[in-house]
Amino acid sequence: MPRKQECIAMLLAGGQGSRLGILTKNIAKPAVPYGGKYRIIDFPLSNCVNSGIYTVGVLTQYQPLELNDYIGNGQPWDLDRAEGGVHILPPYQQIKGSEWYKGTANAIYQNIHFIDRYSPDYVAILSGDHIYKMNYDKMLSYHKEKNADCTIACIEVPWEEASRFGLMFVDSEGRITDFEEKPKNPRSNKASMGVYIFTWSKLRQYLIDDEADPNSSNDFGKDVIPKMHRAGERMYAYEFDGYWKDVGTIDSLWEANLDLLNPQINIDLDDASWKIYSRNAAAPPHYISADSKVENSLVSAGCEIEGEIDYSVLFSNVTVEKGACVKYSIIMPGAVIKEGAVVQYSIVAENAVIESGAVVGEKPESMKDPSAWGVAVVGAGVTIGKGVTVPSKAMIDKDMKGGN
């Protein structure tokens, strides 16, 4: 048996992220590229190691191939350990048959034996699809200080957005007095971040009871947390005031990337004391030519830039040819923007090719009906032919043939 650990983390990475459309056609949401060189899962994984949690179970289910490959033995995050380290935990067959993960709580329930091997006092349950930098160790100290059974990280969101979140009511001691799940008329703006710390002995029993309940959907937010609350367990809110973003939709993914270019926003990826680790491409520094014009952008290794880039995020090995123009866009690894093409307000996925003269995306100002505006998306490996126009909000997952 491995040695006892005080706290281990379980990372929920099985979600499809269906609202990301073609971007998650072949990969799970946590594997979606973000920020020029990262994938979303780099954030919770780096938070774990930076917080001193070195045993991490990653629960996978939807399209795990690329995610498994990316995590590998965990070396980029220093999680290749003799004891603990990162473990990929897909659903598996047991003597009484096999089952997919039915819900977030069921996923943890099916891995009770994995957690028990480390006899932890506490378990952190994290989701693999949020962008934030957070010290879980501080949250754990808070959990211990309050002698809590469950601590939920929360963040104040703008009132007008509050109805999209699970909201909490908190007394002056920080104890949670009530919950509301996505209410129409929110009375609180403290939103749950989907980051939980549980006292393992408590959670273990609730998971077993929840599994035995035929009416349960086996979900933390819908079932386990309300049950614990009704039973009067000690539940506390841990307030977080840094940058946090759920990149659940195309627009929020696009926004979260461009947030990196906004000096007002406090997610500092350049912080040497809290590095975000990732699997790095073995690519040389990027080159910008004498004809290029690059402003207000992030550009990664291996790019060759001859065109114009403004307010955009370029991942590794992207090519932007002469006279091409990229504005307000996210260009993922290996994509090629050919001569004279225009890419604006768009996400171009890995290895896509935009042929010369094509125009992808539209400015919100140029729309007849501004409310119909949205980010255009070109899927992985797709070719947009010469001179083709891709309208706002389009999602292209097949090649589009152009003229000559």
């Binding site: 920020g35 020029g36 060189k37 070396q75 980029p76 270019l261 990826l269 350049d270 590095k275 975000i276 680790y277 990732s278 790095n280 073995a282 690519a283 040389p284 520094p285 990027h286 080159y287 910008i288 030519s289 004498a290 290029s292 690059v294 402003e295 207000n296 952008s297 992030l298 550009v299 990664s300 290794a301 060759e304 880039i309 995020v313 370029l314």
Partner: protein, 371 residues
């Protein structure tokens, strides 16, 4: 051809003197190059890219930065239980003193070479910047039946001591060897990358030891040009020899040409290096950057033209940097002007300073200096 049966030996300290500015605090092997690399990366990558999985790195002195860079060899996939990376520092003062030439170092290394179970050995120094497929060299060596194959290049001889130039017959067999001759015209000069059979090398070393030979070029190569079958192999690709600070500067600047980058960083032969986990480079509002090679972690708010910026270099507002090489962590503060300057690691140029060298004489600012 994969080359599992080849032992690689890299000499980290050879020709340190010709680049004394950059090697004052480090080995030739750990001299930064190309925005994110150290010179040894090119040789390690050449070796692992053709399947060599046992590499010894021979050091003499100043090797702390090299140890830090290499670690356990993981970036080159050389962190292995079986074979992998072997650091071979001198094991006592005697062996440090006796490692001033390649042959003396080899004599010192004989037990390491004997303990390897490989069939061939490749020897290389670090002052050559190159990326080429070793399998061509290996095939050439086998096809010619050579005792010793030396990689070489045609051109003006670099200004190095103890550098061989060759005359060959039509089959590339070396017929005459001159050591650092006074030549102004093009010639065939050695890149000091040598392939030979391991038992043959062991025999040469044992003989050299007993006869008190000192020079690989003179006592082994030149004296035996008729007795041994020595062949000259001319690899293709981006291959340049560094022989001075000026040539270091010129060769670095050659990377601003696309065809050179394509040759040195070809997709099927990646150059591996230690990862620093920097964020992508940030370009600020109103910055101007032209014809430059820029690494991750750079932050550009001013003007940059014809430059190579290493990881984490910063150029502040209204600063102008031209024709310069800024190594890792260099900070050019607001309003400073730099032209034809090489800054070593963690140099800070404070506000409004103006430093200008010439393309034929770049100014070098050493590690950690605050101007």
């Amino acid at each position: 051809m994969r080359a599992r049966n080849i032992l690689g030996i890299i000499f980290a300290n050879m020709y340190d003197d010709c680049l004394h500015e950059l090697t004052a605090l480090r080995t030739m092997a750990s001299v930064p190059f190309g925005g994110r690399y150290r010179l040894i990366d090119f040789h390690l990558s050449n070796m692992v890219n053709c399947g060599i999985d046992k590499v010894g790195v021979v050091t003499k002195g100043n090797y702390r930065s090299l140890m830090d860079h290499l670690g356990n060899g993981r970036p080159w996939d050389l962190a292995r239980k079986r074979d992998g990376l072997f650091l071979l520092p001198p094991f006592n003062a005697d062996s440090s003193r006796s490692r001033s030439s390649r042959l003396e170092a080899l004599i010192d290394l004989l037990p390491f070479i004997e303990s390897a179970d490989d069939e061939f050995v490749i020897l290389t120094d670090c002052n050559v910047v190159c990326s080429f497929d070793y399998s061509g060299l290996i095939d050439f060596h086998k096809n010619t039946g050579a005792d010793i194959t030396v990689c070489c290049k045609r051109g003006i001889r670099p200004n190095l001591n103890d550098l061989m130039t060759f005359e060959t017959d039509s089959d590339c067999r070396v017929t005459k060897i001159a050591v650092s001759p006074k030549l102004t015209e093009e010639c065939l000069y050695s890149l000091n990358i040598v392939l030979l059979r391991k038992p043959f090398l062991e025999r040469l070393i044992a003989e050299a030891k007993s006869l008190n030979y000192r020079s690989f070029t003179r006592d082994i190569m030149q004296s035996n040009v008729e007795k041994f079958k020595i062949y000259a192999y001319e690899p293709e690709g981006f291959i340049r020899t560094i022989d001075s600070l000026k040539s270091y500067y010129d060769i670095s600047m050659e990377l601003l040409k696309r065809e050179n980058r394509k040759e040195l960083f070809s997709a099927d032969r990646p150059v591996f290096t230690k990862v620093r986990d920097d964020m992508p480079a940030i370009y600020g509002i109103n910055c101007k950057a032209k014809n430059s090679l820029i690494a991750d972690g750079c932050h550009i708010e001013g003007e940059v033209e014809n430059c190579i910026l290493f990881r984490g270099a910063r150029v502040g507002k209204n600063a102008v940097v031209k024709n310069s090489i800024l190594m890792q962590g260099t900070i050019v503060s607001e309003g400073a002007h730099l032209n034809c300057v090489i800054t070593d690691k963690n140099v800070t140029v404070t506000q409004g300073k103006n430093i200008s060298g010439a393309e034929s004489f770049p100014i070098y600012i050493s590690k950690g200096i605050r101007v």
